[in-house]
Symmetry: C2
Subunit: 452 residues, 2 copies
Amino acid sequence: MLAGARKAFQSGAARSSQVMGELQATRDPARKSWIDSANDPHCDFPIQNLPFGVFSNAANQAPRVGVAIGDLVADLSVLHTAGLLRLPANAPQDVFARGALNGFIALGRETWRSVRVQLSSLLARETATLRDDAALRARAFVRQADATLHLPVEIPGYTDFYSSKEHATNVGSMFRDPKNALLPNWSEMPIGYNGRASSVVVSGTSVRRPSGQLKLPDQERPVLGACRKLDIELETGFIIGRGNALGEPIACEAAEDHIFGMVLLNDWSARDIQQWEYVPLGPFNAKTFATSISPWVVTLDALEPFRVAQPQQEPQPLEYLRHEGNHAFDIALEVLLRPEGAAQASTIARTNFRHMYWSMAQQLAHHTVAGCNTRVGDLMGSGTISGPTPDSFGSLLELTWNAKNPLALNGGETRVFIEDGDELTLAGWCQGDGYRVGFGTCVGKILPAHKA
Amino acid sequence: MLAGARKAFQSGAARSSQVMGELQATRDPARKSWIDSANDPHCDFPIQNLPFGVFSNAANQAPRVGVAIGDLVADLSVLHTAGLLRLPANAPQDVFARGALNGFIALGRETWRSVRVQLSSLLARETATLRDDAALRARAFVRQADATLHLPVEIPGYTDFYSSKEHATNVGSMFRDPKNALLPNWSEMPIGYNGRASSVVVSGTSVRRPSGQLKLPDQERPVLGACRKLDIELETGFIIGRGNALGEPIACEAAEDHIFGMVLLNDWSARDIQQWEYVPLGPFNAKTFATSISPWVVTLDALEPFRVAQPQQEPQPLEYLRHEGNHAFDIALEVLLRPEGAAQASTIARTNFRHMYWSMAQQLAHHTVAGCNTRVGDLMGSGTISGPTPDSFGSLLELTWNAKNPLALNGGETRVFIEDGDELTLAGWCQGDGYRVGFGTCVGKILPAHKA
């Protein structure tokens, strides 16, 4: 058993300050791993990241908890069974052998941090325990290329926000009034709505083009037909790590304590279905057919070095939405589109999470202010992340300005909305000094609609 | 073991037609129980009903599956263990010992029907097995007055519809244009939106008055404050008994096969929070603080004799929303309000589920037409059920016409919206010939808002 693991379960204040110091060390840009691929400066999964996910492989088809490191997945169930990863004595000892992270997350932040500290130590270049045990290494690692990645959490509830000022302004300009693009409530609260949790799928799952009611301009009544304006929404999502009881709001200052980590999220949207259905109760069939998330949950602990100030808020939010310090994160984001059969994807948007007007903490404080309860594993989408320039918009609707300005792709094709066979990829990472803390990708390919 | 139970698990077509015949017999108005209270013509739970729920009691605090009969709860886990209720041999045999109906429901309609047939036979006046076994009876029944009723299902997803034409017209008249009260999409599809499953609570749970952003008419900016326009919405809900796969819509004609049963549902609504937040993405904090449902799930099999035609639909719905036959149900509904300390409740509304414009089957067909998947235990709310007359509206908003016409209560008090300490009760039943198939009640008392 490692020193880090032993120390992590000492009791009292000494333990707490020791863990914080060790946690700090997990983020040391100079720390390297004995897994060479993790030290590549372009690798999304260096030793500073250690995102959690659920995987299986051909040799062991039971989904279980893993951590991405370099081009490998570390099998936490194996490391735990081997005595190299310690959980609190009073915790269920099978949480790494389960097919979703919820059980592990429910053990609480102190345990996430302890496991992070233990893993960082175990994987560090200078630690021989695992590095020099070829037999255990062979059991404890699976190549990412050989792994099947599953939905990382069971999602009891999914909420989607609408927190990019640029996105809300673009949509308001297109469909309402360019001079009053933002509705009056937008600047006062992080507008959100309930999404559909059942249809959240993991990256790599193909998505069937939806059919629904379309109101065509030349017809008096709607028709049932395949969506003609299929779109992405580039988002991130955060995963609730600690719930709140019904009737007990989460204070804005405490909200980040309730967040386990973040993923990339593609809120697939059928713009034509949405346009006809959404007044007055909001989007429904336009969104519920699929939402894709990336398989690796990047913890707030890993994102800590990339905190930045969010945009200035004017007017100053009501008191329940105020927090001190920096609550945005510098996460570079990209959208790529690859037509069926194309050798190469085209990057169609580049933006950054730091542009978001409302922080995750403000979203969660607002979500619960009237008493709504949240649960471990709940997913909260950021809303489309659009930046200030036309090449930084997070949806095709905005990038092509509702099909007015087709996008030119590599290879000569153009796009206004998504076509059958197109593969859409979201990517995101925080750029450190000589390394990056990445999210990997969130990929989905569009299958043709069912024949009517 | 009873003849009914044995027959229910014979194989093949003979079994199927036999079960259908026995199912028919469970609805025979002449059938009586040896439990006298079940034969009272005003009892909600005669032998023709047999609704499923989850209960515990002081002697056994483990929540388990029960069926309401007269003023008793039959403990299905005891009856099963005693060999009087048979499940398919290949099914998990512990489904009645679980704290939610989902496991039982997942066994499929043939099993629900078989259990219904077995129970009806076991409880029928002429069946001696249990009637004459005092020791087993003492273990197998709990008085409803001594039982704690729990949420009957774990609810993976909650969707709320908006399917009463009278309600939509009333709301449109108040807040938009009385001459064009119905939006153009309303008559073309059962408009729905995603609700929040985490805050669905069982009848009897007190509800904290929510606080949220209110935009007061005399102020430029919103304030955070306790809701001043707290309301009910009288609804029913149906529980999904068989899900559908992502990308595979449910046909309207087949939709009722996916429904396990119905409950009463109170969609508590904060009208002032709703008014300020709901454009453009729909209601959020105005609704997510609590939704109450009644504890007994009345099966579609029990409701079968009360099928009636739904209102004429004009225009004729698109083909995916068409079904032959009768798909409404004649369910009398009432809302009662009892101020704190009042001896007597006042009935403030009387209406009927048969007024609903869109059927449950149409709602489910629409919900899935774009590919959204549903899961066992999903809850689908009808939307506020308002009838054609001013005393048949399903919300205080409509009953008082947005506070213009206060309601007079017994005892001299008046109400425009709900006050602290008020207890609201929904009740519903189908009136048979000399018996009724009832839902029991859905009750909630309002606690004062937290101090700011």
